[in-house]
């Protein structure tokens, strides 16, 4: 049980939420992108979180079973493409319009992204609060020796 373990855990939360925020920003920035490298319009991306464990091997888990084992925070394992269908918008003057005048627009919903953004911000703040509480506990522990 290390001294700065809980700070590391909260820091992993900060990193994960920041990456999530980056992906959301990228989605919002590309809300009107109709051309990408792989062809077709931009596909919305989203992050996948996973709990970070110290060690998965059986012996380690068994030998640590009676000790104080806990998770080691969170990590982003993948940035997935959203398989939802593209929006069809009627705009014959658009350079990427098909023969019928329809344009395939990215499957990004700005409102959903905004809500996700608020959620990421709040989670980030929660982790900051957790770091601050760990900090105050460490400071308090240092004061014990001071008579």
């Amino acid at each position: 049980m290390g001294f700065f373990d809980s700070m590391d855990i909260s820091a992993s939360g900060l990193t994960a939420q920041r990456l999530r925020m980056d992906v959301i920003s990228n989605n919002i920035a590309n809300v009107n992108t109709t051309r990408t490298e792989e062809g077709g319009p931009y596909r919305r991306e989203r992050v996948v979180f996973q709990e970070r464990k110290k060690d998965f091997s059986f012996e380690k888990i068994l030998s640590n079973f009676f000790k104080n084992q806990s998770g080691q925070g969170v990590r982003v394992v993948a940035v997935e493409k959203d398989p939802a269908p593209f929006k069809l918008v009627y705009d014959p003057s658009h350079p990427d319009a098909d023969a019928l005048g329809y344009v395939r627009m990215p499957n990004v919903n700005v409102v959903t992204e905004m809500v996700d953004m608020i959620s990421a911000t709040r989670s980030y703040e929660a982790n900051v609060t957790a770091i601050n509480s760990a900090k105050s506990m460490i400071t308090k522990a240092l004061e014990i020796g001071r008579i």
Partner: protein, 134 residues
Amino acid sequence: MGLFDSISLMEKLLDAKWLRNRILSNNIANADTPGYKRSDVSFEEVLKKNMEQENVLPLTTTHKNHISNIKMVSDIQPRIFVQNDTTLRNDRNNVDIDKEMVELTKNTLSYNMTADQLQRVFQLLNMAISEGRR
């Protein structure tokens, strides 16, 4: 009762609360992880159960290797458990962020309180030592 009994008890308490801070931080970091189940630490409950043993008739022990039915404070360990039986959201995650924040604040405050008390015990000891010197 030894001089350092209360100190070792408080030390145990601080250790348990530090561990709990880590577990709660982990819950908060995983508030958005699908399928994650929250963990928590029970120490006060274990301690209370141990304190209620006072009515138990103690076994006589004349050697340190004898089995005793009374647990010493130093033998009490905080216990980590995973709360598997609830689900809060559709992604099977059961971290209620408000609850975690409240628990974290409570834990931090009680840690600070215990640290203050421990410091006070040391101050008293220091006073007792230095008063005799005069």
